[in-house]
């Protein structure tokens, strides 16, 4: 859960960098980039949260280490 939240922070930070760059050179491109990042974050959050729900239903825990079926 915290992992997804940290992911949001990261995306936000990247968007911040883009917007700042666009503001530096007075171009709209930075904001356009932020828009796309935003759209992507939305899609990713919805799917991520669905996966979290599945995880919780199957393993009754939110520990990501439970998902070690791909080990080896």
């Amino acid at each position: 859960m915290f992992m997804l939240m940290s992911l949001e922070v990261m995306l936000n930070a990247a968007g911040l960098a883009f917007v700042l760059a666009g503001a530096r050179w007075q171009q709209a491109d930075g904001q356009i980039a932020f828009l796309f990042i935003l759209a992507m974050a939305a899609a990713e959050v919805s799917i991520g949260l669905a996966l979290v729900l599945q995880l919780y239903h199957h393993f009754n825990s939110l520990d990501a280490d439970v998902l070690s079926g791909m080990k080896g």
């Binding site: 915290f2 939240m5 949001e8 917007v19 828009l35 759209a39």
Partner: protein, 197 residues
């Protein structure tokens, strides 16, 4: 304007740190929302009002609300809080902290090298953004819409719970008779079995 920027930046950093070290998920989410709002103020301060509004509406308003809904639905109790406490040991956070520190050093270096510029030198109006959006970047818009469609379909499918029993069995049991038999690995060139891992 500059003062607003610095205050908002400080708020964002502090609330993010509080979010990371928080034990209760809901509290952490609220801290995250505060952080996002602070970033929106930053956006406004540097002359990008359009994305400031967007940040508030979509990021803090829709995405975080979705987060809050799911967390509430999970109905985590005291057990989750104690687990988070167990996971927040120095042995666990020392590695990422070092990596983040290295990144900070790199970013600071880049910024110092970049040369200064005045903040708020001008405002990039929403109108300008709109023109560029439906001009050269229209294909991006289409792609974004397809991405959202994919997200929608995926989220719907993953949320469906028709036969939870068989899926649980699929996930957990790989030793049943109808599963493909696992062949033990052999050393190459021989038929001696490899050491078991």
């Amino acid at each position: 304007m500059e003062v607003a920027f610095y205050i908002a930046a400080a708020v964002a950093i502090i609330s993010t740190i509080l979010m990371l070290t928080g034990l209760n998920v809901v509290h952490a989410l609220l801290y995250l929302i505060v952080s996002l709002l602070a970033i929106a103020v930053v956006f406004y301060a540097i002359g990008a009002p359009f994305v400031a509004a967007l940040e508030v509406i979509i990021y803090a308003g829709a995405i975080m609300v979705l987060f809050v809904f799911v967390v509430m639905m999970l109905n985590l109790g005291e057990h989750a809080i104690s687990m988070e406490k167990a996971w927040l040991t120095p042995g666990i956070w020392i590695g990422p902290t070092i990596l983040a520190g290295l990144l900070l050093v790199e970013v600071a270096y880049l910024v110092a090298r970049g040369g200064g510029a005045h903040m708020g030198a001008g405002i990039v109006a929403p109108k300008q953004v709109g023109i560029v959006l439906f001009g050269p970047y229209v294909i991006g818009v289409e792609l974004a819409s397809m991405l959202l469609l994919a997200g929608l379909v995926g989220a719907y499918h993953l949320g469906v719970r028709t036969t939870p029993r068989s899926e649980v069995r699929n996930a957990r049991d790989t030793h049943t008779r109808w599963a493909a038999p696992r062949r033990d690995p052999v050393l190459p060139g021989t038929d001696r079995p490899a050491r078991t891992p």
